[in-house]
Symmetry: none
Subunit: 293 residues, 2 copies
């Protein structure tokens, strides 16, 4: 429950003096709100932004309700990935939180974390399962855990601005894998889209209804599993025919292999989260320029 922090709390968390925090606020290094009486209030997301762009470290994150760090910032992403995978397999949520937060504070982008930590971990776990080295419940429990960490990350990024363009999306009918679409939502919000994931197992008719009712600038579809390919192609094409002209369709997912891709249309196919981020960023710049004319 730490939406806004006082300079004293921040000072304790960073182990610096209160005077310094106040000075940073006054220099506008840390975006600050004020009460009517003139007391400073610092949003947690603003503090995180500041930390990511300064040399200061969050020495005592527990003051802010954040996971305790090891102190050493995690900069080597490969080692982090394997540690994260192990933590996921063991169901060690503290460790998972810590690794991800450390990486985030070490200025790794969220999209990088999604691709090289989360996605990699689940690929590895899948491989282990094929070899009989991992149980199904470990993978499922890992999904739950990953979801929690993603949600926590979500609270650390600022809310989208009022005029942010809307993006909606999800995983289609028969696809129960909601991790991917949650990651997409997170990454898009990180680059100032007003992204809303509608979850998984979404029938195409309801996707159409959602697009019709909310008129987004962008629509994403995560496809991890397809039950009936012919059916999928037909339903998807119908959706694209109706909205593809006005809404930017971004699709991705391991089930969308080349054969299928050749039979459907889209504005962008994304192999990973970073690709999607690039596409969304481009779109953002384009519509931004457009709105200036």
């Amino acid at each position: 429950m730490n939406e806004s922090l006082t300079p004293k709390q921040v000072a304790r968390a960073l182990q610096v003096s209160e005077s310094s925090v106040k000075r940073w606020c006054d220099k506008e290094i840390i975006p600050t709100r004020y009460t009517a009486g003139g007391h400073r209030r610092i949003a947690l997301s603003a503090l995180i932004d500041f930390l990511r762009s300064s040399k200061h470290e969050l020495v005592r994150p527990e003051v802010l309700g954040l996971p305790a760090t090891t102190g050493q910032t995690m900069r080597v992403i490969d080692r982090a990935a394997s540690q994260f995978t192990e933590a996921l397999l063991q169901g060690d949520d503290e460790q998972c939180r810590q690794i991800v937060l450390d990486l985030y504070l070490a200025e790794h982008s969220i999209s990088t974390i999604c691709d090289l930590i989360f996605a990699k971990a689940f690929t590895t776990i899948g491989d282990r399962w094929k070899c009989g080295d991992a149980e199904v419940y470990q993978e499922r429990r890992g999904c739950e855990l990953a979801m929690r960490v993603l949600h926590e990350l979500r609270t650390l990024i600022p809310a989208p601005p009022r005029d942010a363009p809307l993006a909606i999306g999800g995983a289609a009918e028969g696809d129960q894998y909601s991790l991917a679409t949650t990651m997409v939502e997170l990454v898009l919000r990180d680059i100032k889209w007003n992204a809303v994931s509608m979850g998984s197992n979404l029938p195409f008719e309801t996707l159409a209804a959602a697009i019709r009712q909310h008129q987004p600038k962008m629509f994403w579809l995560s496809v991890s599993h397809i039950k009936d390919e012919a059916q999928f192609i037909q339903s998807y094409s119908k959706l694209f025919d109706e909205f593809g002209a006005e809404v930017a369709f971004a699709v991705g997912g391991r089930a969308l292999h080349e054969q299928i891709r050749q039979q459907i249309q889209y504005a962008a196919f994304c192999d990973n989260i970073r690709h999607l981020e690039s596409f969304a960023q481009t779109l953002l710049s384009a519509t931004g320029k457009q709105s200036l004319t």
Copy 2:
């Protein structure tokens, strides 16, 4: 519809104390009108003006639509429930979050919130969908949203003590509904179990492996949907035969109708989260005493 606001509502919207708001009204920083009895009423437009003139940002504008909820009456819960349902349908995550956190801070138990707010909301949404008054995407998006709020609640309760008894559980194969098992985990942790949900769609073989590897004191199974009843009964019975003697089996879910219940064994069947909480509490006391002997 919200022409005039009470100081309490404004206080929560601005994340300051009620005292401060009252003081600002008295200092004429916020234009205020008074009822015949001398209670302050703040016009929404006056509040907006105040926010614009001062550097004070409206932290939680959505609160302005909320009823003041510090009481414990059923009335409050009912109103909160319907507001929560509406917010879920509209995908308004700030409002959902706020309603639940308010209730929690007003010392309503988490199990009550689960039953009377979350479960009720999804029942209502299901009914509306049957009448054609709600889209599937609204329900799915609501699930995502509810999950986020549950995860946030989870961060507010303390971590289980080192010596807390272990409970594991989840939703069985073919059951994709992970909200229920997440609620169970949350409530059990709230009463000091070391509860770990393994998510949904868990094959019985992997449930067996999980129990074997972790040796919990309790095991829960959430059953919202059964694909093949005969198959379910057989697999479940096998699981119970193997572990039922050492591990307390708690089962629940709308798919476990009476016919099925009569064909399976368990330590407890729970109609709702509060039942499960009672059962777990009883078990906790019993094992606590046992360990003293």
